[in-house]
């Protein structure tokens, strides 16, 4: 099983530790994982702003980088959803279709493909889960609160395998954090208010860390936490799942 590791642009540049944790975790689980060096971005920043028509060369580059792999795995639900929903190619639609079918966000790859049932990890902290909307309502990583349907949560399932962890609750289990790509700039006031309210929900329930399968949400929340000199930290789910089994 050959896995192509897709590290989205902003993760590559701003959150290398989450990327390293993803790589190490996949290696620990015995997979053959490679990072194609020439990758850049999924094209979502343009497309969500209404410029999908400018993202064709980005798409073609993505296809070139990842066609050869059996699976593509990325530590970012939002970017994965974008590829799944919007990757197309004038030149080679067959290759694009194949990619849309074999790309996975890390959590779903662990639960649905590798089907792991235990992990050797230790993270003795109180952790709140932030459901990224694209992970939740796009990739169905957990049940959506709006639907009348049985409850499940893939991130929670994985985090429950970690020693010492205490998962904290929320009043609003899957409310959006307000990042929304360029929304965070164009609608600054509402975006920040949404983020502040998510943080309050987590801190009120005693979370020391906020984790998520999506760093874009976490970057926005971290921005607010840093500005307010909060002690609460953000951490990508890969870093918890890859935490050392012995060190606290």
């Amino acid at each position: 099983m050959k896995i192509g590791l897709f590290i989205p642009c902003y993760v590559n540049q701003l959150y290398p530790n989450a990327a390293i944790a993803t790589l190490e975790l996949l290696q620990k689980l015995g997979t053959d994982v490679t990072y194609p060096a020439k990758q850049t971005c999924c094209g979502q920043p343009m497309a969500n702003s209404g410029y999908e028509h400018l993202s064709q060369s980005c798409n073609d580059l993505f296809i070139e980088n990842f066609s050869a792999f059996d699976y593509i795995v990325a530590p970012s639900a939002s970017c994965v959803l974008h590829i799944k929903d919007h990757l197309h190619s004038h030149a080679n639609e067959a290759a694009a279709t194949e990619i849309r079918g074999k790309i996975y966000e890390l959590v779903e790859f662990l639960t649905d493909v590798l089907k792991i049932e235990k992990l050797d990890a230790n993270f003795p902290h109180k952790v709140g889960i932030h459901q990224s909307c694209h992970g939740l309502r796009g990739l169905h990583l957990a049940q959506m609160s709006e639907l009348v349907a049985p409850d499940f949560s893939k991130p929670r399932h994985l985090l429950n395998m970690v020693n010492g962890i205490e998962l904290t609750e929320l009043d609003r289990v899957d409310e959006c954090c307000g990042f929304g790509g360029l929304f965070c700039i164009a609608e600054e006031a509402v975006s920040v208010k949404m983020g502040k309210d998510r943080i309050t929900d987590h801190t009120k329930h005693g979370a020391e860390y906020i984790t998520s399968p999506d760093l874009s949400c976490l970057m926005h929340l971290e921005g607010i936490l840093l500005r307010n000199k909060s002690k609460v930290k953000i951490i990508h789910i890969a870093e918890i799942l890859n935490s050392s089994p012995t060190k606290a």
Binding site: C9, Y10, N12, Q13, L14, Y15, P16, A19, I20, L23, Q27, Y35, A37, K38, T40, G43, P45, M46, A47, N48, S49, G50, Y51, E52, H53, L54, C58, D60, L61, C133, R137, M144, S145, E146, V148, A149, R172, D174, C176, G178, G180, G181, L182, F183, C184, I185, A186, E187, E188, A189, V190, V192, K193, M194, D197, M219, H220, G223, L226, R227
Partner: protein, 458 residues
Amino acid sequence: MKSTLDHATLAEEFNKDEERVDWHDGALWWIRQKRDRSANQTPQWEELREAASAIKSNVISNLHDYLIQFEENLKKNGVKVYWATDAEEHNQIVYSILKEKEIKQMVKSKSMLTEECQLNEYLEDRGIEVINSDLGEYIQQIDNEPPSHIVLPCIHKRKEEIGELFHEHLGTEKGLSDPTLLTRVARKHLSNVFLTRRAALTGVNFAVAETGEYVVCTNEGNADMGAHLSEVQIASMGLEKIIPERKHLGVFLRLLARSAIGQPITIYSSHYKKPRAGQEMHLILVDKGRSDLLARPDFRDSLKCIKCGACMNTCPVYRKSGGLSYHNTISGPIGAILAPNLDMKQHADLPFASTLCGSCTNVCPVKIPIHEQLYKWRQEIVKLGYSANRKTFSMKAMALTLSSPEIYSTAGKTGRWLLNNVPFAINNKFNPWYKQRDMPDSSQQSFGEWYAKNGSKK
């Protein structure tokens, strides 16, 4: 009166009073929770949504035939039928009906369509007084402000503010803000209105093609009061309000009030079919952009909307920006996908007033893929040139960099390309990101650089 400010500006204004935002957000979230409880208590809720969506798909695919059938049955029942292409034509028809009867006062209820058509202003210019009898709309009318929500028109007003309005306009005691007492005062004023108005106009929730009857759903009974006491009864409806058969009401009536406010059914679901002896009934079928929408395959599903407002209550952006920020009669997520069809330039900002979180789509009782349509409207708006040149320029620069690994990695090394180019990350004090947020530490090497050194060793 059309506002020239965009959603972001109006929302920022709304957010200056954070305590008020919290209150507004909390009030609507409470309604969303009521909706959830109610949905969870209803057997086969998701199947009901599916059925409603399928019935509406059938309706919009066969709209022409159903409308003709509906018209024939209306005529058989003794109702006069009119077709209006736009707001102007609709308003002229209402005016001509009233003029012929020399009616100078009309009571109105349950009609967002006539708000869209600005019927009140049109009639007032011609010397006809109109009173909105739904309590929320009545309050908005007194305050000379459009509704901020299609089901809860004055949800953005606190009871103290309503007390102040009543004091000013209806002569209540200063400082009175008890909702029950205020409602009694309004009821007293409105009873007199009902007794003296010769004409009553209502909207339509469901128009049954099979029988030629239409159904109006209210909690206050005001539509009935107006209609029963009038000698001229007028109904205005958008073309999309059709359902094929009466039995389909069993699906829609179960969904409507539960989705809207978590109530099993509206207190009144009134069926109107034939005029009483001595009464006239008129029904106006209004296009106003509906057939244009039908001709847009990517967007026609928005014609399924039954105007429950669930998408507004669940939308965090709506809750934290207020309905009036959308500067359109229909606000929130559904307003943001309906408005560009009517005037893309005026409403070019609305599809961007969303994080595309998708909660709206999940609560929609007729399963309109609202957030997918928001995404598609963004593409349309940009393609047709309603986006700022500056944004287009920066998007082109971004696309160029991201399509070339060489430019990208050089740019990345020379001071983190992202921090200089991606709009939310541009590191200067003019960037709105930094008004209330910081960026993470970016001094470390990128993963790409780390992997080049360490990746192969593993």
